[in-house]
């Protein structure tokens, strides 16, 4: 065995490693030089034949060659891997990142969306949220809320009377008596619901629409409280300070009764389409609960009092959505209704 042989192997390796183009070839080379039957093993096996004086140098040379081969293979492997990734990257086709995506989802009736927002505000203010039937008795809908027998609202022209003597509730107030009895005499309750009026339909009138009504009952409640409360509620609803004004109104279930107008949040009171040019939006009929209503709910009006207010959902929806025809809200027109999605 001669040192020469080591140089031969090294030369051969240098040539072969130089020519490697793929990782698989590299493995072949590794086996060929470093494997159990490879050149290095082969050389090492001849160690015995090396003269004693050359053994040291021989050993050193073989070890050096082995290290060199190992390092070179590792180095080449990294380089080839790097190349392979580059090749992969270079051969990658770019996506058409501009393609449209499908975000299709179902939809909620816009009333549901607004109702959720409004109800959340009242919940934050500590209100109980209640519900009520749609078919009601004369007593609940009229008598218990102080609507006298001869009141025009009781005419068939305004009320859908039913064959069994009941009626479709004309106002959310129909639930007031039950709610005051359940929660009174100290309570804060809202009760959104669907109401019905025997009216002809047009773009601004529906016979079926949504309202929200609320009552606050306790001791020493004042008109000043009512104004404060309405301002706070409208501020939360429109997310800005809203100027309000109270005007005298007339409802049998409140005394005094008011119409609460909000300074138009869209034009700031200058007059626009939404407010019909007046600068004010009639939003909230309200008033101090009539003592007869409290009495009929078993609450002593000399000890307790409170206020009640209404909010027309459909009006809010029309304002918020620019919907031009109220009839859509009760329609099966999915072309319109499916546009609302689930948030607003």
């Amino acid at each position: 065995m001669e040192l020469n042989e080591i140089y031969e192997v090294e030369k051969k390796f240098d040539a072969e490693i130089e020519a490697v183009a793929a990782l698989a070839e590299l493995e072949t080379i590794r086996v060929k030089y470093l494997g159990k039957k490879g050149y290095i093993t082969d050389i090492m096996s001849k160690f015995r034949e090396v003269p004693a004086d050359q053994k040291k140098e021989f050993g050193q040379k073989v070890n050096a060659l082995k290290n060199k081969i190992e390092n070179k293979i590792e180095e080449t492997k990294l380089a080839l891997e790097q190349k392979a990734i580059e090749a992969e990257i270079n051969s990658t086709e770019m996506f058409d990142y501009s393609l449209p995506v499908d975000t299709e989802t179902g939809s909620l009736n816009p009333r549901t969306i607004i109702q959720k927002q409004v109800v959340d505000i009242f919940k934050n203010m500590g209100f109980v949220v209640e519900d009520g039937n749609e078919v009601e008795t004369d007593y609940n809908n009229f008598e218990s809320v102080n609507v006298p027998k001869s009141h025009p609202a009781r005419d068939t022209q305004d009320t859908f009377w039913l064959s069994n003597g009941q009626l479709l509730k004309t106002q959310t107030s129909a639930a007031q008596n039950r709610i005051l009895r359940t929660y009174g005499p100290v309570c804060k309750v809202i009760f959104p619901g669907r109401v019905f009026r025997n009216e002809q339909l047009d773009a601004r009138h529906e016979n079926t629409f949504f309202q929200l009504e609320g009552v606050v009952v306790g001791k020493n409640i004042t008109v000043a409280n009512l104004i404060y409360f309405e301002k706070a509620m409208l501020k939360a609803l429109f997310k800005k300070d809203i100027e309000v004004r109270l005007r005298p109104g007339f409802f049998p279930f409140t005394e005094p009764s008011y119409e609460m107008d909000a300074k138009c949040p869209f034009c700031g009171g200058r007059g626009c389409q939404t407010c019909g040019g007046s600068g004010w939006i009639e939003l909230c009929p309200c008033g101090m609960i009539h003592p007869n209503v409290l009495k009929m709910a078993g609450i002593d009006p000399d000890e307790y009092n409170g206020f009640a207010f209404g909010l027309g959902f459909d009006r809010l929806v029309m304002i918020r959505t620019n919907l031009d025809d109220i009839r859509h809200l009760n329609s099966n027109n999915l072309k319109v209704m499916s546009q609302f999605k689930t948030k607003m």
Binding site: T105, L201, N207, V223, R245, F250, E255, N332, L334
Partner: protein
């Protein structure tokens, strides 16, 4: 209702107050003003002119060439009015002036110079007559501006009638003037009236009231009326207030209605010389002043003459026969108050809602009748000095309102308003509103004026409103409510409603609809949907449907039907109410239901069915914590008899779901596969939820083994589960369904159900022996139970 500020100013001095301020304060204190119209602003430089010469236009067969004296000059005007004649005095808009239609310039009409325009009433906005130019009979100075003689300039406010519903006193200018007087702290002048006492010696008109629905009937008769036309000022006011001038007597009754607030009527005294107020028997026919035939309903109040011949529908409209005409010179004036409900009913039934009936509906004050008569006599005598009153005040006062007094502590007002309102302010305000106020120590005794006592004011809370509205709501400082930290009760069925809707919309791509509560009978019939309606509307003219629905799903099928041509997939839902029947006391049994409908032209019925089942199980389980499952049982006739099932939990039955009946499908649209669900939402939401608990997780590796269990094709999965339920193994965590394979050639009437078993131990890694033992046990169990394992 339209009100004229000139008219108001007859009764209260409003000088120094801008219109804007007037409107604002009235809005805040009394009623809503919906519009402000400045009258006369567009009438400029219109003078009285005299037509000197009328010549035919050479090129036109309807135009005339006029020479008109307009005071300072004679101008040539080309005019098309048919009524023009030489010597006529008319209104002339000079060049540079303006009428409602626009500015007047010198121009050529069919080749002839025209310098000005002769005007019709309508062109000046002061009347309704536009048949010809004004033929002015009054003694006027030629060349004078019409505005210097006639009250053309005025401001008209339009008040929202609805906001006057509870204020019968505000349906006339005098009552409104009282409000302005109080708002602006000015004096309310007295209304000029004739002295009725002067006629006490004259004969009485016989009046009888034979109905409960007439409070009071008062009358006076007058003879020798020669004037036919109303003075211009009165005519203009009537027009500005939204009425037309007709003839003196008709105008007078209208004027007094708008003045005092009480409708009046004038009968021809030659035809009507006595009054009987009766009720209709439902048969009597009447021809009204307009010549229309009406049959007043039974019980409607009628005015008849002494012979019980009806001459007017009380409070609504006069009759033709007894009506006044241009040559009437002797009349009987009616001033009466009828029951508000009775008048409303007869007006609505007949379909004649008039200025009079609108006012009577508001419960007018019977104390007004002599005032209205004294007022009309005063006006008539001022216009026509030769008239002769031929009867005394003839008055039948059948029903009187009780005098209303309210005693209260004035501090109550401040307590409710939340402001410190002084007793002095309260007393002053109430007195100005003509309430009688007596101080009784610290307390006040207040007497309600009759014109507010018919229904409006009766309790101390009503007085809070009177004082507060004049105190000014904008003067009230908002004050927060007392703090209350009590947590509020949440009602599950309400809380879950929104969450359910959101889940259906966002996870199941469904659209929420709100449908009417009607039972769409025709649709249901034509679509073979057999559903009941337990209660119907008495008047269905506006609803278009007569019954109330008992089920919600048919409405969704209707929704599909209306959208089937626009979509190949329709997914809709609704949470709504239905009437499921009547209870023993005939009260509706109402339920809040959830209905869902999935329809598709691409998906199979089974795919849709599975999606729908997923949705309801998902909602029940993941939202509400309730396990629901389907079970065999009767559903509804419009669902498939085989593939429709009950939706149940262990404790309750909520409703049903399934494929729609082939007949309904055929009637709707064969292209669509349709599945639907309807459940009682309240019942589901109120079911007690199970407690959600976390299972402990083993740290040792689990092993999964699949078995193909072969069983009869008809064996449903839940039955297979039952068969497997007795198999017990300590290391089995559970199993799940992977696949169901059916192939007639290889399996015949059997099917292969692939189940994946998960094996694991809490305390060690499973050994090969343990797994082998499980295999052996399971195979043995399967064969023992008449099943087999394949492959």
């Amino acid at each position: 209702m339209k009100i004229s500020i000139n008219w108001i100013k007859d009764y209260v001095d409003l000088s120094g107050i801008e219109i804007d301020e007037l409107v604002k304060r009235f809005n805040l204190s009394t009623a809503e003003i919906e519009g402000v119209e400045v009258k006369g602003a567009d009438v400029q430089n219109v003078v009285f002119g005299k037509v000197l010469k009328v010549e035919n236009h050479p090129e036109s067969n309807h135009l005339h060439i006029l020479k008109v004296d307009v005071g300072d000059e004679v101008v040539q005007i080309v005019c098309g009015a048919p009524n023009v004649y030489e010597g006529m005095v008319t209104a002339v808009c000079k060049v540079g002036g303006q009428v409602c239609a626009g500015k007047i310039k010198a121009t050529k009409l069919v080749g002839v110079d025209s310098c000005g325009m002769c005007c019709a009433e309508a062109e000046l906005g002061i009347g309704s007559d536009d048949d010809g130019i004004m033929d002015i009979k009054e003694d006027v100075q030629i060349g004078a501006d019409i505005k210097s003689v006639w009250p053309v300039d005025d401001v008209v406010l339009e008040i929202d009638n609805k906001s006057l519903t509870n204020r019968p006193d505000l349906w006339g200018h005098y009552g409104l003037a009282r409000e302005f007087a109080v708002i602006f702290d000015r004096e309310l002048k007295k209304m000029p009236l004739d002295d009725l006492k002067a006629y006490d010696k004259l004969p009485e008109i016989p009046i009888q009231i034979e109905t409960e629905n007439c409070f009071r009937y008062s009358s006076v008769s007058v003879d020798n009326i020669t004037a036919k036309k109303s003075p211009r000022e009165m005519a203009i006011r009537l027009n500005y207030a939204g009425m037309r001038d007709i003839n003196l007597l008709a105008d007078l009754t209208n004027y007094v209605m708008l003045d005092v607030g009480l409708p009046m009527h004038a009968f021809d005294n030659k035809i009507v010389d006595g009054i009987n107020v009766i009720e209709s028997d439902g048969e009597i026919q009447m021809t009204t002043l307009e010549g229309e035939e009406h049959r007043p309903p039974k019980g409607a109040v009628l005015i008849s003459d002494k012979n019980k011949e009806p001459v007017a529908i009380a409070g609504v409209k006069g009759g033709l026969k007894s009506g006044i005409s241009d040559d009437t010179n002797s009349v009987l004036f009616e001033a009466a108050v009828f029951d508000s409900t009775a008048i409303r009913k007869s007006a609505r039934t007949i379909g004649l809602i008039t200025d009079a009936s609108q006012r009577y509906e508001k419960s007018l004050d019977p104390e007004m009748t002599p005032i209205a008569l004294a007022r009309i006599l005063k006006l008539l005598k001022d216009i026509d000095s030769g008239v002769k009153v031929t009867s005394r005040l003839s008055d039948c006062y059948k029903k009187k309102y009780d005098k209303k007094t309210i005693e209260f502590d004035p501090k109550f007002i401040g307590k409710i308003v939340g402001e410190d309102i002084s007793k002095e302010f309260i007393v002053k305000t109430l007195k100005a509103l003509e309430f009688g106020v007596k101080e009784k120590g610290e307390r006040l005794e207040v007497e309600v004026p009759t014109f507010r006592a018919t229904k409006d004011v009766s309790i101390k809370e009503d007085l809070v409103e009177e004082v507060a509205r004049l105190y000014g709501y904008d003067n009230i400082k908002p004050a927060p409510l007392a703090f209350d930290a009590a947590p509020q009760n949440l009602i599950k069925s309400i809380e879950y409603e929104y969450d359910t809707k959101l889940m259906l919309a966002e996870k199941y791509n469904a659209n929420e609809i709100h449908s009417h509560i009607w039972n769409f009978e025709d649709f249901n019939k034509s679509h073979k949907i057999d559903t009941k309606s337990y209660v119907s509307l008495l008047d269905s003219s506006n609803a278009g449907q007569s019954g109330i629905r008992s089920e919600l799903l048919p409405t969704l099928i209707r929704c599909l039907d209306e959208n089937k041509n626009n979509y190949d997939s329709v997914r809709v839902f609704e949470i709504g109410r239905v009437v499921s029947g009547l209870d023993d006391e005939n009260i509706c049994d109402e339920h809040k239901k959830l209905a869902i409908l999935f329809a598709s032209q691409k998906k199979t019925e089974f795919e849709l069915f599975t999606e729908l089942k997923t949705a309801i199980v998902d909602i029940a389980k993941n939202l509400m914590g309730i396990d629901v499952e389907l079970d065999k049982g009767d559903t509804v006739p419009y669902l498939h008899p085989v593939n429709s099932f009950r939706v149940k939990s262990r404790t309750a039955d909520y409703g049903y779901m399934g494929v729609i009946h082939p007949e309904v499908k055929k009637a709707t649209d064969k292209r669509f596969n349709v599945v639907g669900l309807e459940i009682d939402f309240d019942k589901l939401a109120n079911t007690v939820a199970y407690a959600r608990k976390i299972k402990s997780v083993s740290k040792y590796q689990a092993v999964e083994i699949d078995y193909n269990v072969v069983c009869d094709k008809t064996l449903i999965y839940s039955e297979l589960q039952k068969k497997l339920s007795k198999f017990k193994s300590k290391i089995m965590l559970g199993y799940s369904l992977v696949d169901i394979y059916q192939n007639e050639q290889t399996l015949g009437d059997k099917k292969s159900v692939t189940l994946r078993f998960t094996l694991c131990s809490q305390d060690h890694t499973l050994s090969g022996e343990e797994i082998e033992k499980f295999r052996a046990d399971f195979v043995e169990y399967i064969t023992r139970n008449g099943l087999e394992i394949r492959g």
